[in-house]
Assembly symmetry: C2
Homo-oligomer: 456 residues x 2
């Protein structure tokens, strides 16, 4: 898309010039030809005064589509600058999921004005959707789906879609419900196209519906989409009544957010709500400090171990110089293993029941890596400190055992965390490093005391 | 999906019992009712002998769909067990992208047999697709799209889709091409449904086509899908001729793979080709050793710094006990910052041009975190070592400056890597930790020498 993207940026430049020169008629002609996503990128670049001018220039339907693509600050600015009448038409045309996403971030006073200016039906729906727990299937779904009856023929179904489909988020998968809105089956537009006009939907619908429950975790929704390659997924309540659908574009957003959350957790941070550049310095520090504290206090234990072997490094100061290498190598070896397992569990590839297989694998990987690293170290030490065979052996053996233990701890702890229903992501690099540090120093100084005949 | 998943597992159990009891007629009736993904999960559980028996039981079309969902080992087993005639029918019915994915992993002798048993057209297409570079748009696309002409009416378009649509990977977005197969526009089935039968496609098609080039990186394809919420994306060659399409389900797979690759790179591993449990011990060690070596050698530099200040910790051995805490806290602070920036750049939220904004932000976050950590340390040290005010100040000031420098290095290096066209992910926790370790020890011992009057 590189060519295309440069073109879009040039286009936005051109539109900005038109706006500056107040060539509004020309601008309007350009806008109606464009994609709502690109128009939103253009409006993001405008100052507050021009934003409303340009926004009002667009036909109502396009304006609503663009509105849905804008960041919440711009939405807020537009809401506070337009009339109640204009606001009403936008809110009633927005998809419920977009309206809810916006309302969750707006200040209370503006939420109140928005709800006052939506129709009773919309208001009821929005309030219902606002109540689904965060990260649940209910919080990602929208209400604009095509609902059909099983007595309908293909021809009637097409007539219905032609009449009502224009406002739906997807028309390609239609849901067949009974009179109590209980989900009975799905029929795709492809099925409709491949069958004669007089076929009854009951005969062609798929009754084995893959569905989600409103309270289900959104990560499970992502897994279902991935497994079955879906375009949309119906969401039902406990009585199997259809309450909404989740579309694939929203699932892709969730995938991206969940991956970002895992990256943050694995680097010892609390997940942030907003993009990095929009998160305040205070909030960033608040997300990072708790784990830094916990890990700092834990690493004092490691310091205590060093203190215990004070005599050893007082006798042979050279010993201390290998501490950073041992700690770093141990930490890195352990976090390699833990990362593989945490990610493997996140994508459903590794299960806690695989623990023996995993440990056996990591033990052997540890031996291979340990031998490689020990060998390189041996050569280096024999060249650098030719006379010091015992010190050399101490370091080399420590490296070897540290790597094996690091791999074992690194692969075991995330699985154990999952078993006791903790998030495996907390057992990532920072935590593993702290634990492995302590182990590697114990091994090192124990070996040093034995091999070099020092007092522990 | 919890209920549903348990149901599926029970279902597979039941099918396995049927197979064991050779109740094949009953089994066949069950299979034709099921989803191809679930049938594939069932076949995965079968031994090699039963696999072919069950596979042959299914109607041809279903068998091909199930075949596409199987892991490559099962595919290979089936290919070697069926006749050339059966093989031919499967290969010609497979979507090209599925065929290519499979062929890329099969041994050469089997690839040869597969190609010999496909029709000349299919063979030509497969060979063409096999030649697109790895990770390019061409390597993810498939050839089964609906191509229309702009002179067609809506009615003709529907007739065409009814006739040929059944074999296409998606029918919902159709591509309008001229006689030289150059892409002229797109029209969705929704557009077709919302317009009268006699409308000409040229009048309703969208000529601002969002598209990709065959050689484009697949990460850019993911970005385009995310930005414009697409269901499919046309892929063209340099002459703007349509050669294939990418569908959203394949993009979701790519998203997951790319995130996994980033997790691996950020934990200092070379990305693996296969899932963890299917990767050999030797391959895992091979992916992990190079970075372990590089980082081990780098951390020897840190050891060298310690050696330089041998006199300092010989005079006051207590100093050494704070080394692990300083190294760990510095490493963690730095990798928090680098993770945020690497991820921010991966999702297109942070650009290299934001570098000044980012550094200024991290400086302030560093001050906040540094003050917090220093304070906790100060209290702890004054309680634990009441008389040692100067040592306490040395440690506290070192923590403070280490955190600030770690944040700055952590946010700067990934951006610099991107600027010089390296993958920012290599500037993650392990690399940052190694660099920050050296810095924090330098600060610590410099401060110690000055404040405590030691000889450096």
């Amino acid at each position: 898309m590189l060519d295309e993207e440069i073109k879009i940026e040039d286009k936005i430049e051109e539109l900005l010039r038109m706006t500056a020169d107040k060539r509004y008629r020309e601008l309007k002609l350009q806008l109606v030809e464009m994609n709502e996503v690109d128009i939103a990128s253009f409006i993001e670049e405008l100052d507050s005064e021009k934003t409303v001018v340009v926004f009002r220039m667009m036909p109502k339907e396009l304006a609503t589509e663009v509105f849905a693509c804008l960041p919440v600050e711009k939405q807020q600015h537009i809401i506070t600058s337009i009339t109640d009448y204009e606001l009403r038409s936008i809110i009633d045309d927005l998809y419920v999921d977009d309206a809810v996403d916006m309302l969750e971030e707006l200040p209370a006073s503006i939420v109140k004005r928005v709800l006052q200016n939506s129709s009773p039906d919309t208001r009821k729906l929005i309030n219902q959707f606002l109540n689904y727990p965060e990260n649940s299937a209910g919080s990602v779904m929208t209400a604009e789906y095509v609902g059909l009856k099983k007595q309908m023929t293909v021809e009637e179904a097409f007539a219905y879609i032609r009449k009502y489909g224009v406002d739906k988020e997807t028309i390609y998968t239609c849901y067949v419900m009974d009179e109590k809105r209980r989900l009975e089956g799905v029929v795709t537009v492809k099925d409709l196209l491949m069958n004669p006009y007089d076929t009854v939907l009951g005969d062609i619908m798929d009754v084995h519906v893959i569905k989600a429950y409103t309270t289900e975790d959104r990560e499970e929704v992502v897994d279902t989409f991935n497994e079955y390659s879906l375009l949309s997924l119906p969401v039902v309540d406990k009585e199997n009544r259809l309450v909404g659908i989740i579309t694939v574009d929203d699932v892709m957003d969730v995938m991206e957010q969940e991956a970002t959350e895992d990256f943050e957790k694995m680097a010892a941070m609390l997940p942030s709500e907003k993009p990095y550049l929009k998160t305040s310095v205070f909030q960033l520090a608040k997300n990072r400090l708790p784990w830094l504290m916990i890990l700092m206090v834990s690493s004092m234990v490691t310091g205590g171990i060093l203190l215990k072997y004070e005599n050893a490094f007082a006798a042979i100061p050279l010993l201390v110089t290998f501490v950073p290498m041992l700690m770093d190598t141990g930490g890195n070896s352990g976090s390699q293993a833990s990362t593989m397992i945490i990610r493997g569990m996140a994508v459903g590839e590794v299960e806690p029941s695989d623990i023996m297989k995993v440990v056996w694998k990591e033990l052997r990987v540890g031996v291979l890596c340990g031998v490689g690293l020990a060998l390189v170290n041996f050569i280096r030490l024999m060249l650098q400190y030719p006379g010091q065979l015992m010190i050399c052996l101490t370091v080399v053996m420590s490296i070897f055992f540290t790597v094996i233990i690091a791999k074992t701890i690194g692969c075991t702890l995330p699985i154990l965390a999952k078993v006791i229903h903790l998030d495996p992501a907390i057992m990532a690099a920072p935590m593993i490093t702290t634990i492995v540090d302590a182990c590697s120093l114990m091994i090192y100084f124990q070996l040093a005391c034995r091999l070099l005949g020092l007092l522990g």
